[in-house]
Each structure stands twice: as C-alpha cells, then as structure tokens.
Symmetry: C2
Subunit: 591 residues, 2 copies
Amino acid sequence: MISKLSTLFVRTLRDDPADAEVPSHRWLVRAGYIRRAAPGIYSWLPLGLKVLQKVERIVREEMDAIGAQEVSFPALLPREPYEETGRWNEYGDLLFRLKDRRQADLLLGPTHEEMFTLLVKDLYSSYKDLPISLYQIQTKYRDEARPRAGLLRGREFIMKDSYSFDIDEAGLEQSYQLHRQAYQRIFERLGLDYVIVSAMAGAMGGSRSEEFLAVADNGEDTFVRSAGGYAANVEAVRFAAPEALPIADAPAMAEVATPNAGTIAGVVEILNRDVPLADRAWTGADTLKNVLFKVTEPDGRVRALAVGLPGDREVDVKRLTAALEPAEAEPFTADDFAAYSDLVGGYISPVSLDGTRVLGKESTTRIEYLTDPRVAEGTYWATGANRPDTHLTGVTVGRDFTPDGVIDVAEVREGDPAPDGSGPLTLARGIEMGHIFQLGRKYAEALGLKVLDRNGKLVTVTMGSYGVGVSRAVAAVAEATCDDKGLSWPLALAPYQVQLLATGKDASVFEEAERIAGELSQQGLDVLYDDRKASPGVKFADSEIMGMPLIVVVGRGLADGKVELRIRSTGEKREIAVADAVAEVLAAAGR
Amino acid sequence: MISKLSTLFVRTLRDDPADAEVPSHRWLVRAGYIRRAAPGIYSWLPLGLKVLQKVERIVREEMDAIGAQEVSFPALLPREPYEETGRWNEYGDLLFRLKDRRQADLLLGPTHEEMFTLLVKDLYSSYKDLPISLYQIQTKYRDEARPRAGLLRGREFIMKDSYSFDIDEAGLEQSYQLHRQAYQRIFERLGLDYVIVSAMAGAMGGSRSEEFLAVADNGEDTFVRSAGGYAANVEAVRFAAPEALPIADAPAMAEVATPNAGTIAGVVEILNRDVPLADRAWTGADTLKNVLFKVTEPDGRVRALAVGLPGDREVDVKRLTAALEPAEAEPFTADDFAAYSDLVGGYISPVSLDGTRVLGKESTTRIEYLTDPRVAEGTYWATGANRPDTHLTGVTVGRDFTPDGVIDVAEVREGDPAPDGSGPLTLARGIEMGHIFQLGRKYAEALGLKVLDRNGKLVTVTMGSYGVGVSRAVAAVAEATCDDKGLSWPLALAPYQVQLLATGKDASVFEEAERIAGELSQQGLDVLYDDRKASPGVKFADSEIMGMPLIVVVGRGLADGKVELRIRSTGEKREIAVADAVAEVLAAAGR
C-alpha cells in the first residue's frame, strides 16, 4: 500500500503541546498521530490509527491462540449489576455516571466483570460448558482525577479485557497461566522491555494478581526487584514480620524529657545525649512514629486510622491508597486532632492508641491502630508519651500496647531486603501494560453464576479477569523507542515500514521514487511516499518526527545511480545502487 | 478456520425474546448472535461479532476506495463545540449528557460534524489541502424514546460516519457523488434490496440529502416512488402548489347551518343535502380542515400552530415532526383551546386564524397558520365558521384569508401523483441504511473553519456528511434473508460459510467430518463443525436457526460413501459422493 504525504491527513507541529509531560505524548501529537479532544480524551488521526490497529491485531491473534473467544459488549451499561457487586459506589468519582431520558441510572463501563458474569450465567448451566475464556477489544471510561501523559492515562481508552470461567481452582490456575503466557507473547511482539510483578487486586477484588509493566523512567508505577527474581509493584510489596522476641527480654518503659525536639532527628539526638545505648547509637529506626489519617469509605462513612511505623520511614501514599482501596485516606488536619482532645499531636503514643483504652469524651469513635510488620511482638521502641515534650523508651509490643493489626505501607527503599530473601531490592519505574487477576468467586457469588457440577450439585463458578491497555501500548512503545528527533517505530507496529522521500526538483527524481514505491508496495510493504513540493530539510525533519523505521531518499545521488537508505532507530545511512534499492529495503524490512 | 460447536460460546433459544417485534431481532437473539444488556443496548456474541466485522470490512474497503481516510474520534465529547452549533440543545432528550468529576458538561456523540470540523480547522489552512474526506467506524449514542427491533433502532450502535471538506460547491457535489457511489457498492455487496430516496436534512441541517433504504416490510421509514423514477422518503415529499386560480371566479362566501354534523363526512352530507353543487357532489376534498398544535422549541419556548389541509386527509405525524424539527409538536388539548377563548373547537375557521385578526384577550400569542400546498391562491373551500354548528362555503384563499405560509404534512396516499409528474406514487417501507447530506457551510461557519483560497482570501469551507448504519446493517441483512426457520446469511457476511454436522454415533462419522472440515478450512473456507454429542434433530434445527449458507451433513449416508449438501437459502438438498464433497462445497461457496 502506498500513501502520498501530499494528501495524507497529517500535519507535523513545530512546537510541543502545552500539556505534554512525557516524550511519547509530545511526539505523538507533534507527528500528527493523535489530537486532544478534551482532557484525557483523544482522537486518532490516520497514522495513529494504523499503529493502534496493528496493536489490536497482535492482541487478537494471541487471544485467539489460547482459545479465547471474541465478543463485544456495550460501553453504556445499566447500574443494577454494578450495584449488586458494590462497584457502583466503590468506584467513587472514577465512574462516569449518567441518566437516560427515563431517569434510569447508567454508567460508562470502566471494566466489564459484571456483564460477562451475567452473560455466562445467561448461556451456561453445566460444568461441561467450562472452561470458557471470552475477550473484547473495547472502549473503556474512567474519570481520572488527573488524566496525564496523553494516551498513558486517559479518560477514554481502549482495552482488551478478558474473563475466564472455571469450575474449580485448578481450572482457574490453568486459565490464568494461559493468559499469562499470551501476555508474554503480546508484549514480546510489541517489542517492550517488560517485567511481571506481583500486584494488588485493588477494586477488582480477588486473591492473586500480577502486572505486566513496561520499564520506563516516565512510568507511573514504581516496582522493585531483586537479583534473585523477586518482582513486585511497590504497592504489593509485603514484608514478612520478624520473629517475635521474648517479652521478658524487653527493657522497662521509661520517660525521657524531649523539650523542643521538633523532628525525629531531634528526638534521636536527645536520646543519644541523655539515655545513650551501651552497644550502639540510637537511630530513627529505633523510634516508632504514629501517623493519623481520616479514612472515607465509598458509602461516605468516615473513620480514624493511626499507622505506626519505624521513625526513619515515611508512609508511602500510593501504598496506603492501595492498601485501603476503595476507601480513601487523608492526613489528619488540626480540626481532626481537635475532635480527639486526648491526642497530643507530635507525641502520639501507641499506649494511648491501644484499643483497650477509650479516648476523651469528644472522641466517641475509636481509632484503629495498625503497625508496620517490623513492629513485631516483643520489639521495643522509643515513642511519644502523649504528653508535650515527653517520649517513652522501652515501649514493648504485646506488653505495653497491642496493635489492631498490620499495615505494610512504609516507603520501600533501594537496598531493602526482598521479602522472599532473594537479595536487596532495586527500584525502577514502569507503565502498567497488562494486569491479570485470579478473581475467584466474588463476582459469580454476587451475581449468582452457578453451574451443575459432575454430581449434579450447583456450584459457584470461579473467575479470572485479564486486561491489556491497547491504546496505552501505542504510547508505551512510542515512549520506549522515540528519541530527541521524534518517533521511531519497530517494523511490526509502524504505520508504514518505509518513508520514501523524493528530494529534488527533477521530474526523474519523482518518477524514480514512484517506481520504487510501487515495487515495494507490490512486495507487500506499506510505503509513505513524500511527494510534496517541499524542501529536503522539511522532508528529512518530518520523516524523523513521523518515525517510519526505514527511510529511503531519492534525490541528488540519483544522477550517479544511487539512493540513500536510512535506518531510523540507529541513524545508520548508506548509499545503495538504484538497481538494488528494492531488494535492500526488503532485506532491511526483514522480508 | 474451524470452530467446534461444542466449545463455541453460543446457545440457541427455544423461545422468542419477550420484546422481539421483528424477525431479525427474534432470530439474532434466538440464534445466539446478540444479547440485550439494557433497553436498546446489545452485546455481540462470537457469531454476531463475526458478521459485524465482515460488514465493517466491506464498508472500510469501499471508503478507502474513494480515497477517504480513516480516523477515530472519541465517543465522550465536550459540550462546547455542540453548544456553538446549537445542537447541544436541539438534540433534546436524544442526547446523552453527563458531567465529569469537575462538573464539566460532556455528551456521548450522536454524530461528529463538530469534532471533524474542528480537527480539519486544526490541521488545514489552504485550498491546496482540499478536498479531504475523513471517516470513522465508531460507536454512537442516541437516547431514543422508543428503542425497538433489536439492532434496528438502538441507543448504542455502530456507524460509519464520514465528512467531506471542499472549497466550493462543485467540489462538494463531487465528494457527495463519490460517497453516493461508494454507498451503492456497499449496499450491493451487502446484498440488500435498496432504494435511494430524497430525504429531509433534519437536525443535521444542509441543503440536500438522500437516504439509502433497505426495502423491508418492517422498516420504520415509509417511502414513495413512481414508475417514472421519483423516489422520496415520505417526510421529504414536497407537492408543488397548483397554479393560482383567478379570485374573481370564486363564489361568494356563504353560511351553512351544520347542526350535529360531527365529522367531516357529516358536514359533506349536509352540504350535499342543503347546498348541492351543480356539476358534482361535495366530497371531503372540498373541505378545509384546520388542526391545532402546540409546538415546543428546543429552548423551551412554546407557540401555537394551525395546519390547514383538505378535509379528506390527516396530518401525517412523522411528516409534521420532520417539518418542524428540532421543535416538537403535540395536538391541542382542551386546556390549550381554553387559552384561546375565541376558538371554537370543531369549527375552526381560516378566516379567524388569518394573521390580520387578533384573537381574544386571553390569547396574546398569535397563532401561526400554515396550509397544505393544495390550499393555493384562488381555491375556495367549505370550512368552519368559528361558531358552533356553522360552516362557511366559498371561503377563498387570498380573498377571505391569507395563510402565513405552506406546510406539506398531509398524509401521502398510494396513487397520489408524483410531484415531478412522473406518474402515480406507490408506498413502501424501508430501513434507513445510509444517509448522505450536503451540509454546506453551517458547521464550518459556526466553528470558523476557513482556508485561504487561490487569491489569498479566507473562505469558509463547504462540507458533506455521510453515514452508514453498520450494526443496523447486520439486522437489515438478517431481516431480508431470514425465514420461518431462522437466519440465512449470504456467503459474504456469514460468520462461517459452512456448518458441518456430524450426525451419527460411529467414530467414522466424526473422523470423516473432521477430515472434510480440515480440507475446507485449508481451502480458505470458515467452517463451523457441529461435533456435539447431540441428536441429529437438534443439530439440524440449530443449523437452520444459525443460518450458515452451506450445510454439510456427514451421517448415515457415509456407509454408502455419501454426504449431504444443503443450501440454507433455498432449502435445496443433494447427496454427494464423499470424494467430491470438498470440491462441491467449494463450488457452492463460489470458490
């Protein structure tokens, strides 16, 4: 196929779009692949759509290859099924809700677990019908608070979502593994450098989930990995609690005056000065910091939560958000502290937060107290005394206080030991490209999807759900391959494998270019032929921005029987004889 | 490609869905092609999706063939552009509107004139850039008051919409003709019996439009045609006014007492009894009936409208709706009459409605009075006297009253003369499959799409807009081809060209069936292989419901070296030798 640039609906832009935060966004807009229609909502121009369709084809082929069957659901959905699973509320502001002319509640589907569950319930009734995996490539909607980075986090986007239905856990595991393998092939074919990491199930629910992250400095997700093979999204890292220490070995609790200590560093300084340890110096890691949050449930209920963690670490907001989802947490304000008159800000004590102690009259709501896994039984800490200018030492877990439970939301640091003992962790960033979930029976139970088993007994089906960000993949590949001159597509995804430039004024240049374009097209390559009456400089610059993998220049060299072949990704240029041009380009295109 | 029915995600239903009004809807649901998700909103199951994708491919190929370029716009759109063209309001309840988390107004696109206009404005600036035609195959939303007939009138549906941009009228005419020809090829390839009729532009605006209607008894649209080639949607039929008669020839106005006349037939009876004509009998066509409507504009303003038309005809509600769009009309209620105390219901007189006369005190709003084209100057009528039990004869247009204008909304009847004199009209029904519009400059003006012309002067671009109902086409073809046993697809659209039934218990039957399926698939046919452990009766019935064009039965005859080939559309059956089976099926499939 040949397209002429003189008539192709595309214009490159000289300037970056004002809202461009990452290179892929900048170049996809500047090269004329996409245009913003509204915040987080994009139109696909011809070049962009061609890439998108190639991604779709790869995804479709790999889903078909594992026997998943393609269907297509509406985006506009009724409220009721989402009400039954609780997600109508749990999604909060992320869900686009609307009413039709009869005032019936509708939503724009953010993901389709409910609808697929109901469809399988509608059609199937026996274990003999299972397993089944269904997928769709479809437009999804999420009202992101901060749509960003072009296609990387949009409010309308294209996903491949699939759902597996099995009679038992072994079946689910198999369906899950099939999807996992299909996703590996998809991301390999897309040419992405990716990692598979343990992940949080989040609003989706379910027992096990993994994410496929494209490694990218501009990615929104942080993940950790160890040389020994551990890999997890930072939200999903779960440190094992150290073994309990004998409480009898713990020192007695003692008060230390800490006037004007200010920060934890200040407290540590006073401790080292006034109550030095025999064998080592006090550090922030010996202190227990207690941070208060106001937690809002999807139904609007508000509660207080105190998080206790070693004083040398902060609460990681993303880890906290993920741990509490779908509830949302905000740090305590002065007003919140005022509602708990017993609490002395800056000197919060776990002893005062212990569930056995009821707080002051104004605070009828008990504060839940959760601690970092390191705050294990028998460990002892320097911490606040809930009195101004006073701390306590030797405050021992299981003796002086007992937390309500564990919450693993402290920041993860480069060098922290991997939870599985496989060595120190390194941190990196990535773009979430795929997410696979073992949902289990949450949706099937809520919506009554049962089938008869081998013994004629009704059993609830177990499900998996699996997503690939299809439009996001276009941006992720652009992000991974672009350089400071523009886009640079791999052969498998480029809108055209070849951009053919006629740079010259002689008719012979255009005739020869047209001939080469025709032959390449006959050989099955897609050619973008720059036939414009524009300067060579404009044509070179546009070809670099647009990013076709192979660039053929028919110009001045033609008089000597030469054309130039450029490889966009490496910048390599070489002169080739006109007679060999087609063969050389085909070879470079892997044909 | 081979799919096995034992694992294909499909179930045929024994019973009609409760809401099925037309055969295509009934069979598409019963055969497991689609399922309702909400009123007017459908999910596509594997079989249905395959048909849809084949329709999409045909549409895409024909649009590419006329040089239109594919793009893809979002469905979720900002309010502002639709505000600027007035359609945010004009669409009324038909538009799905919603707010995002920042309370910004959004809509689900019913059609995309505004967005395409803005995109071309964004990219193009010169006459040299034109002409351009852009298209998308995309999901559209309209909140229909009465979604019906499955895919035929849905609230979420798939359309191919395209838009042409030209510098002048000649260019627009050419772009329009190119689309017209592409649509002819599309509907021919879909195998539809269709007509091209003159149509109303409706909410779209613009000067000229034509519809492509699939002829179908269950179609929502009524169209007329003459043997001489006239064809129009009934809403678009425009009768020419007869030539004016000399007013001097009109008889004098006279009163006739018409006590208890009741209906127009009653009035006619009294006229024939009391004031008989010399040369012929009075008929309803000699009377002038005046019907009152309350008209609500999109902005909420309400006004009154009287329609005068020959007494033997009714106002055609669809023609009236189309004529007034985007305003909406309702017949006057008793309360409405009460607001105009001068009006005597049942005896409304054009003389009292004449704009020169102001009605009673309570009615400060003047009533607009529009008449049928037949109510031409110099014609005279028997009509109400605006007094109980009294009519007038000889009421003459231009002498006794002057209407405010013409409105052509009387019912069109079989046998009425075609407006262009090409013979009597016949009426038929159809399904609107395509609609092409010469929009002109309405959208370009509203949104400021101008380019520099050859002389360096800014000129407003002229546009066309063109739509094909892609999901509707699936239903229209089903409607045209199904019979009382089920669906019956043409080869070009069938999910599989062949349904291969193994009917028997011998392993040899299944082995032979599998071998034939394999060979047909290798030859490029798509085969649905019924490998289920089910009775021949079930398999035959399912194959008839599902509607693949060729059915091959491997069963009892195999012992004699025979299989059976059935042609679904004709019911033809013939035995063929096993050895010839593949060749015969290929021939029947046109390979």
